[in-house]
Amino acid sequence: MLGALVMLTCLAVPAAAQQGVILSGAELARVIPTGFYFQGQSAPTQMRNSAAARFGTSRYVLAGLVDTSGYAADVRARYEGFLITDSAITINGSDLETGAYGFGFSNDGKLNILNLAGNQILTVSTMKDASLKRPRPLVMIRSGNETRLYNGRDYAVIAVR
């Protein structure tokens, strides 16, 4: 009986780990950096447009828009904010390793992930949520078993590996 319970628990952990808990309030403020380094300079985080999810007990994925006014136009065209993950994740099923990245949602329905030097390392197609009642510039929302990163009505699904 005990063995079965242990086995069930072991099986349950990976499943639970997939289910992100969206952080808010003080919990969110505790993990979101106030600024982010990317391609030669740091920019302040728009704290109102930041989001984080905890996977399992201590794995986090953070995202936030930054004030990119100090960057050149070509950088601003691609770079909107940061994505920090302390474990390997998937975005819409594509792998992303532990690390800190820049990102930008594009007009043509893509989420581009950039390394800190500004090189594009991953591009995924985003989905559009026409039914979203009050879209925001950047939020994470749990929908069913999914943890979604939204930019307006566009979103990508984040899961830990």
């Binding site: 109102r48 828009l65 006014s69 100090g70 136009a73 770079y79 925001r136 510039p137």
Partner: protein
């Protein structure tokens, strides 16, 4: 048929360099190859230009992050769409009568023409109000200033008060009235804060703001320091309102950007030179840019200012209760325009703050001296796609006659203005596209906006003044311009609006660097006139000459202080029924863009020749009905003197 003025193409310096590099290799190709490639390119470019000449069919929704402002996608255009759009068949609605008035000698001056800093771009407001209570609405025009004047090195530009003498004659009474301000003026709002029956004036400055008390003898005295409302910093469009229903007007003043003259933001004039707070890298990488061109910085990247709520105490002085009331704006959003309004119609004044490049705030009055910001959940904080916009001006009115107040907010170029329909229960829906106000407004950078029934057909129309903040707009293919035409939209009575064409050579065909706007019936003919304050330029006085127009009614409301209604009735709502149609008009201080419409309420009633019912909800929440014996007249309606 609207006529679009063709606009000559101008290459940016960046593209010129790129072009030279790319054509170097091309010149080494054989002549026949070059000819073939050129032929193909010619057809491709021609096709591309055709596509570009057609406006995009949808709102640009990708956020242009970090341009200094929050706006939509940058698209290259082959035409400017903000000047030269005329329609020979359109009726003339407004006649520019400025040159016939004393206002033609007024000139707004705001920093340098180059606009190297953000504080040079947003002055100034205008108010229409009857300061001498002679029944004729007067005009107050705010002026800007210069850095040298702020440092006491040159004479400061003067604001001006013009007394309406009737028959389109105005007299400059600034000197006598003592309201020259001579500070960097941004906003003006009207409220009779001391309930003496004479309108007072709050002037929001970049520097120290003023409260001009009306001395009832055609002079004013600045009592801001004495009464505790001399807000410092960069104050913008303020609003009076009695949020706690004690019969005394309170005052809300938004803050915009924190500027330190000793440490100014990078200037486009300093491109390539080491200077400024962030230190410019050679080549100007840290100079702020718009579409790759060096421009003034801000508001994003600059520290914002909190907002201030001044509560009036029984002794007539004010106390700062911003934090206690929950409207202090700790996030320091870039506030531009505010208004105490009845958003949820619970008889308590709520508060809307339009912010530049940050979310708008809608504060619902909880009735206990505090407010709750419902900007996000109400839908007013962002546009329909969840994007922060560069909010400038605010129109407040019930455009669809459903009995609830709707909002129209103006925004930056490459973005549309937004119409928020009030669905009730504190919910608003962005109906811009459905209303026909989306695509057309995208190239314009909007400022003052107001609902007005210009043809008295009993439906609120919409007016918007425009003008860019970057002079470079005239030099690049941005599809916009520095000076821009104003926009008049006719209410089609179906929830949609259409642009009223501008006959060539008439007022609406002209382009201005518009900022402030005020609406009022300056000649008492029952047609609403306009005054526009233009940046670095002369103001414009627009006489409404629309024909034919419907019947009308104007109401001056007087509250009963003993019943805890402010005497000027700010916060009152008039419901007027004629021919079975019920309309609503609110007495609102502020809004527009840092400006003040005449507090006299105006109703167009179309073909109706009598008023069936007039109900007033006074600021204290009580309802009262009045008999109105005639139309096409102005009536003074006093609380407690009604029939029922």
């Amino acid at each position: 048929m609207m006529k679009l003025e063709r606009w000559s193409k101008v290459q940016s310096p960046e593209s010129n360099v790129r072009l030279r590099r790319q054509t170097a290799g091309f010149r080494r190709w054989p002549l026949s190859y070059r000819f073939l490639v050129l032929l193909v390119l010619l057809f491709s470019v021609e096709g591309l230009l055709r596509v570009m000449a057609q406006d995009p069919q949808k709102k640009p929704e990708s956020q242009q992050q970090g341009m200094g402002v929050s706006t939509g996608s940058a698209i290259t255009y082959s035409t400017r769409r903000t000047v030269g759009v005329t329609d020979p068949k359109a009726p003339t609605i407004f006649e520019d009568v400025t040159s016939k008035t004393a206002l033609s000698t007024f000139k707004n001056r705001s920093g340098t023409p180059e606009k190297n800093y953000i504080f040079e771009t947003a002055s100034g407001g205008v108010a229409i109000f009857d300061y001498d209570s002679d029944g004729l609405p007067d005009i107050y025009l705010l002026n800007g200033s210069t850095v040298a004047a702020m440092a006491g090195k040159e004479k400061a530009p003067r604001s001006a008060l013009y007394r309406n003498l009737g028959n389109w004659k105005f007299e400059d009474v600034t000197e006598k009235a003592g309201v020259a301000n001579e500070r960097w003026g941004f906003g003006v709002s009207i409220g009779d804060y001391d309930n003496d029956g004479w309108p007072d004036m709050y002037v929001s400055n970049f520097g120290v703001s003023r409260l001009y008390h009306n001395n009832r003898n055609s002079t004013f005295t600045d009592v801001a320091e004495k009464l505790g409302v001399a807000r410092k910093g960069w104050s913008t469009g303020a609003t009076f309102g009695d949020y706690d229903v004690d019969g005394r007007l309170d005052l809300f003043v938004p803050g915009y950007v924190e500027i330190d003259f000793k440490n100014l933001p990078p200037s486009p004039a300093a491109m390539g030179k080491p200077a400024g707070r962030t230190g410019l890298i050679d080549g100007g990488q840290n100079v702020c840019q718009f579409r790759g061109v060096a421009v003034l910085c801000g508001p994003r990247g600059l520290p914002g200012e909190s907002d201030t709520l001044f509560h009036q105490k029984p002794d007539g002085t004010f106390e700062d209760l911003s934090t206690k009331a929950g409207v202090n704006d700790p996030q320091k959003y870039y506030g531009f325009t505010s208004a105490f309004v009845h958003a949820d119609d619970d008889k308590l004044l709520d508060l809307i703050v339009v912010n530049d490049s940050t979310p708008n705030q809608l504060y619902i009055n909880k009735g206990n001296g505090t407010f709750e910001d419902v900007g996000y959940p109400s839908g007013v904080g962002l546009n329909e796609n969840g994007r922060e916009q560069a909010g400038m001006g605010l129109a407040v009115g019930d455009y669809d006659r459903d009995g609830r107040l709707d909002f129209h907010i103006t925004n930056f170029s490459d973005d549309s203005n937004v119409l928020y329909h009030n669905d009730g229960d504190g919910n608003f829906t962005d109906v811009t596209l459905q209303a026909g106000l989306g695509e057309l407004t995208i190239p314009f950078l909007g400022w003052g906006t107001s609902f007005l029934d210009f043809d008295n057909d009993a439906w609120l129309d919409l007016f918007v003044v425009n003008g860019h903040v970057y002079p470079a707009a005239d030099s690049y293919q941005w599809g916009t311009s520095y000076a821009q035409q104003a926009l008049l939209f006719r209410n089609l009575k179906t929830g949609r609006f259409e642009r009223v064409g501008a006959p060539p050579g008439t007022a609406l065909a002209n382009a201005w660097t518009g900022r402030g706007l005020a609406v009022g019936d300056l000649d008492g003919d029952g047609r609403l006139d306009l005054v526009i304050n233009n940046l670095d330029s002369n103001p414009v006085v627009l006489r409404n000459v629309a024909t034919p127009t419907g019947h009308w009614l104007a109401l001056r409301l007087v509250g009963d202080v003993a019943k805890k209604s402010p005497k000027d009735a700010v916060g009152a709502i008039a419901y007027l029924t004629s021919s079975g149609i019920r309309q609503r008009a609110d007495v609102v201080s502020g809004a527009v863009y840092s400006s003040q419409n005449d507090l006299t309420l105006h109703f167009g009633i179309g073909a109706a020749t009598k008023v069936d019912k007039l109900e007033i909800q006074w600021p204290d929440g009580s309802m009262e009905s009045f008999d109105i014996p005639a139309v096409d007249k102005t009536f003074t309606v006093v609380q407690g003197k009604g029939g029922k």
